[in-house]
């Protein structure tokens, strides 16, 4: 890998930062090499391994978390840039002993096989449903000026940033559809 030797450089003050982030409702403070992504911060420094590293290039969606309530790919965010902001990971979608309606629907519809993409699918769907409730259009919305009905085509387009190598897509669509209909 390019720059492998550089990765071994000792953390020095010029290239590191103290970062405070609210994660799943709790304030967390860590000192990080500026190169550390939000994904690696969650997984390697905060023991939150729900968000997954798939491609690490923003193409697969398995690292999706909510940043100030909006879905983003945490592998393309340097943690130093989110100082003072709020992050919700799959661990924070519901309390420790309960499931969010979306999580329950994923189980009811068997919306995964290996489960690796699931935390990203769940956070992405949570953010996507909020976007729908704000009236945001998508590329398949016919009329840009009226709120879109959440058809299967809309769900598929809006979830295009999350790949599922097991191809559980029909069940993911069903789980999202049911969650949207019941909320």
């Amino acid at each position: 890998m390019q720059g492998g030797g550089e990765n071994a450089t000792t953390i020095d003050e010029r290239h590191s930062s103290r970062v405070t982030v609210e994660v799943n409702g709790a304030s967390r403070a860590v000192t990080l090499d500026n190169r550390t992504t939000l994904l690696d911060t969650l997984r390697e420094h905060l023991d939150l391994t729900g968000a997954k590293k798939g491609c690490d290039h923003g193409q697969c969606g398995s690292c999706t978390v909510l940043l100030d309530g909006r879905r983003v790919k945490s592998c393309l965010v340097f943690a130093v840039t989110v100082d003072g902001r709020s992050v919700v990971t799959v661990e924070g979608l519901a309390g420790p002993d309960e499931l969010s309606p979306l999580q329950a629907a994923f189980i009811a519809h068997d919306a995964f096989q290996c489960g690796y993409c699931t935390p990203g699918q769940l956070c992405s769907a949570r953010g996507m449903l909020d976007e729908v409730s704000r009236g945001w259009p998508s590329a398949v919305t016919d009329d840009l000026n009226t709120p879109a009905e959440l058809t299967d085509a809309e769900i598929r387009e809006r979830m295009a940033g999350n790949l599922c190598r097991c191809a559980a897509y029909p069940h993911i669509v069903a789980a999202v559809r049911e969650t949207a209909a019941s909320s």
């Binding site: 390019q2 720059g3 550089e6 990765n7 450089t9 020095d12 010029r14 290239h15 930062s17 090499d33 500026n34 190169r35 992504t37 690490d56 290039h57 923003g58 969606g61 999706t64 940043l67 909006r70 879905r71 983003v72 790919k73 393309l76 965010v77 340097f78 130093v80 840039t81 992405s124 953010g127 996507m128 976007e131 704000r134 009236g135 945001w136 259009p137 998508s138 590329a139 919305t141 840009l144 000026n145 598929r156 387009e157 809006r158 979830m159 295009a160 940033g161 999350n162």
Partner: protein, 327 residues
């Protein structure tokens, strides 16, 4: 990845001053392209100047009826803006056709315009690329060049510009507001991007370290009838193999005004002035649209693997304009 310092500027002047003082500094917007290129070793900045917290995140109507869009407005917010959806659907459609929901939430207006080509040879530090390493050659010219340019390329570079947003903005005669070391300046988008020529490492006409602060859309009532058509290798979340931004203003069935710009054909978003000239003042028909596209593409020089882009671009021109004519 090379270690870097992180700077959150107090204001635009501070940001521009850091870039002027540090030859290896780079602005960080949404990071959707730069962070990836840093992981790949393609870009190796010493300092990141994070501009996302500067107060450049508003969309405001202008007295002349135009719209001013701050450089850090996120792509998703811009696509969802009610005035953009109503008055500039070509812009909303271009944004919505790009990337994924997560990336649109991150990507900024200014960063989108300055994103780098997705030419695979540019992104691979093991390959010759004059854009990445001036003087090293172009592995794409005789390599796998299906996705690359058909117009205005040079022996030194056959890369295409990847942005959809920039294509829509080219069609709308957008003004790019930049702040350089010696102050602010307006640059019409037609003058903003460069042809590759012998210096493909230079992609814009503004000075190194210039910060885009906003883009300004002129009033264009005709743009209410506009659209963006994009062809991809899969149904969603992919870069264009062909795209067209189109604005059509008909008087009866005669073309009173038209704006056309193409994506995925050149080093810059390609405003199709010749096609527009063929269309203006004539009775609209799909055949006329095809002739107009052919006139625009007459000087195209397809590479070994991308000759299909000519009939593709003609076809989407006809389809976009015909849809607008019947809407």
């Amino acid at each position: 990845m090379k270690a870097f310092r992180y700077h959150r500027p107090a204001d635009v002047a501070d940001a521009v001053a850091v870039l002027a003082a540090e030859p290896q500094a780079a602005y960080l917007g949404g990071g959707t392209n730069l962070v990836d290129l840093m992981k790949l070793g393609v870009q190796r900045p010493d300092v990141l100047v994070d501009v996302t917290r500067l107060p450049l995140d508003t969309v405001e109507g202008l007295p002349d009826g135009g719209l001013r869009i701050g450089a850090t407005v996120r792509n998703s917010d811009l696509a969802a803006h009610p005035v953009v959806r109503r008055d500039y659907p070509v812009l909303a459609r271009a944004l919505l056709a790009a990337a994924s929901g997560q990336l649109r939430n991150m990507a900024t207006t200014g960063g989108n315009l300055l994103q780098r080509t997705r030419c695979v040879y540019f992104q691979d530090t093991g390959k010759a690329c004059n854009k990445r390493e001036p003087g090293s050659g172009c592995a794409a010219l005789h390599g796998q060049n299906r996705d690359l340019a058909v117009l205005d390329w040079s022996e030194q570079c056959v890369a295409t510009h990847p942005s959809d947003l920039a294509v829509a903005l080219a069609a709308l005669d957008t003004v790019v507001e930049v702040h350089e070391a010696d102050g602010p300046r307006d640059v019409p988008i037609a003058d903003f991007y460069r042809s590759p020529g012998t210096q493909p490492e230079r992609e814009t006409t503004v000075t190194r370290g210039a910060l885009i602060t906003a883009v300004r859309l002129p009033p264009l009532p005709a743009a209410r009838r506009s659209t963006y058509l994009k062809v991809r290798d899969r149904a969603s979340f992919a870069f264009a193999v062909g795209s067209v931004a189109a604005v059509l203003d008909l008087d009866g069935d005669v073309v009173r005004d038209v704006r056309l710009a193409y994506g995925a054909v050149a080093h810059r978003p390609w405003r199709a002035y010749r096609a527009e000239q063929e269309l203006r003042g004539r009775q609209f028909s799909p055949e006329l649209a095809a002739r107009a596209a052919d006139a625009e593409l007459a000087e195209a020089r397809p590479l070994r693997h991308n000759g299909f882009k000519l009939p593709l671009t003609r076809a989407i021109t006809v389809r976009a304009l015909s849809e607008l004519a019947s809407s």
